[in-house]
């Protein structure tokens, strides 16, 4: 099948050295697998040493042609050169894993990739829906009637419980004590003091002596309202010469 041909790109032959290019390979493992397939044996029986030679020769060939060689190909070459020297050197039982073990792992890697490549080709070659077999072209479709599916997340749930707890937990309200003069106090005080004020007097003069600016502010506000109330009752008179000017009070005539 054409599809398969594409998956297994034709091996590079020596007499086509000029075609030597790394563009066609999807990384060093891909190149290795294709070189391995040139040995024309089952991947189980492949000679790793021969494969290493092939790979190194290939990279060398690319180098002499001054082709750009991606770093991962060189890393693989370095690793394979190392593996090769290990395989050729007398056995050192201290080396773990052994070079044979490394060779076996590489072989397994190639088998795995080969198996997946083969599986991919077999999948693509199956009777595929929409290409080889067809579903009904014009299904009527099934009608749907809406029904609610309730949604809530775990967070919603915990937040809801937290909310309930926060809401219903006995709350303790602490009101900070603040010195204030109530309106009643102010009316009494201004009413008492106005008796002595026959002349225009500033409202501030009626305020109690205090070092607490908050209390002073409260006393001023309450006394002002008290003055308005007393004026309404006809017990005092109010005068202000200009906007924001001093507020003057005196006993009603």
């Amino acid at each position: 099948m054409g599809e398969d041909d594409e998956l297994f790109i034709a091996p590079v032959r020596d007499d086509e050295a000029l075609n030597l290019s790394l563009d066609g390979w999807e990384g060093p493992l891909d190149l290795l697998l294709n070189l391995a397939r040139q040995q024309k044996v089952d991947l189980h029986q492949i000679s790793i040493l021969a494969l290493v030679e092939q790979y190194l020769a290939y990279i060398e060939g690319a180098r002499t042609l001054r082709l750009e060689i991606a770093a991962d190909y060189l890393v693989m070459a370095a690793w394979l050169a190392y593996l090769k020297s290990c395989l050729l050197l007398p056995k050192d039982p201290m080396v773990d894993p052994s070079p044979e073990e490394l060779a076996l792992r590489l072989q397994l890697r190639l088998q795995r990739l080969d198996a997946m490549r083969d599986a991919g080709a077999r999948l693509m070659g199956r009777d595929r829906l929409g290409r080889d077999v067809f579903a009904r072209g014009a299904p009527e479709g099934l009608k749907l009637v809406r029904k609610s599916a309730w949604q809530a997340t775990a967070f919603d749930l915990y937040a809801a419980y937290g909310r309930v707890k926060a809401r219903t937990a006995p709350a303790m309200h602490v009101v900070a004590h603040r010195a204030v003069m109530t309106l009643e106090d102010a009316i009494q005080r201004v009413a008492a003091l106005i008796g002595q004020a026959l002349e225009w007097t500033t409202l501030e003069a009626f305020l109690p002596a205090t070092a607490d600016p908050q209390y002073r502010k409260s006393a001023l506000a309450s006394s002002f309202v008290a003055a308005l109330e007393l004026a309404r009752q006809g017990r005092l008179e109010l005068e202000q010469e200009e906007t924001f000017g001093e507020l003057l009070v005196r006993r009603a005539a």
Binding site: V145, A149, A152, A160, A166, R167
Partner: protein, 188 residues
């Protein structure tokens, strides 16, 4: 069933629109298309699917008498209301629990609809009655509740300390506001 007949059947089945006899011959090749259509129509008679001709074009359609079954309820996602979520949480943390207890914990009355929604969602069920005056009906959560909220068991519910750590127990200004709103009438 011969291959010509099979080809006619498959071509009509796969086509996105009704096919004329010429269309069909274009797929199925040499053969008596009209005879094949008669044969097929007969084979499909009495099936849930019929071969019919409409304006000299042929197509399969489901049998008209089955139209009513080709309809089905679909689930639409709807978010649980605040009242229902709180009620569910209270049941989960306090089960088995009666409606009066839920209301006491929530500090707000719950409408019948709230419990119905939770039942419909499959998250709560009735769990007997309390042996107490009035024998109130009790509610508890279901296994579906656990799986929906990704809980292995009720022990996996975060504890009060966990909620506090997550800031979920902070008395919010909003909760006061909410209280006001809900007492005006709760909706689900």
């Amino acid at each position: 069933m011969d291959d010509f007949l099979r080809a006619v059947e498959a071509a009509i089945f796969a086509s996105e629109e009704p096919l004329t006899i010429e269309d069909i011959a274009g797929y199925a090749g040499e053969g008596d298309v009209e005879a094949a259509l008669r044969d097929l129509a007969e084979r499909y008679a009495g099936h849930g699917v019929e071969l019919v001709e409409r304006g000299e074009r042929w197509h399969f359609q489901t049998a008209p008498d089955l139209a009513h079954i080709l309809r089905r309820t679909r689930e639409d996602s709807r978010r649980l209301s605040r009242a229902a979520t709180e009620t569910l949480a209270i049941i989960a943390y306090h089960e088995p629990v009666s409606r009066a207890e839920i209301e006491a914990i929530r500090g707000v009355q719950i409408s019948k609809g709230t419990l119905d929604v939770l039942m419909e969602a499959g998250w709560i069920k009735t769990a007997g009655r309390r042996e107490a005056p009035g024998r109130p009906l009790l509610y508890a959560t279901t296994p579906d509740f656990l799986s929906h909220f990704g809980l292995g068991s009720r022990r996996d519910l975060p504890g009060i300390d966990d909620l506090k750590a997550a800031g979920l127990l902070d008395p919010l200004e909003e909760s006061l506001f909410q209280l006001q709103l809900e007492s005006d009438g709760e909706d689900d």
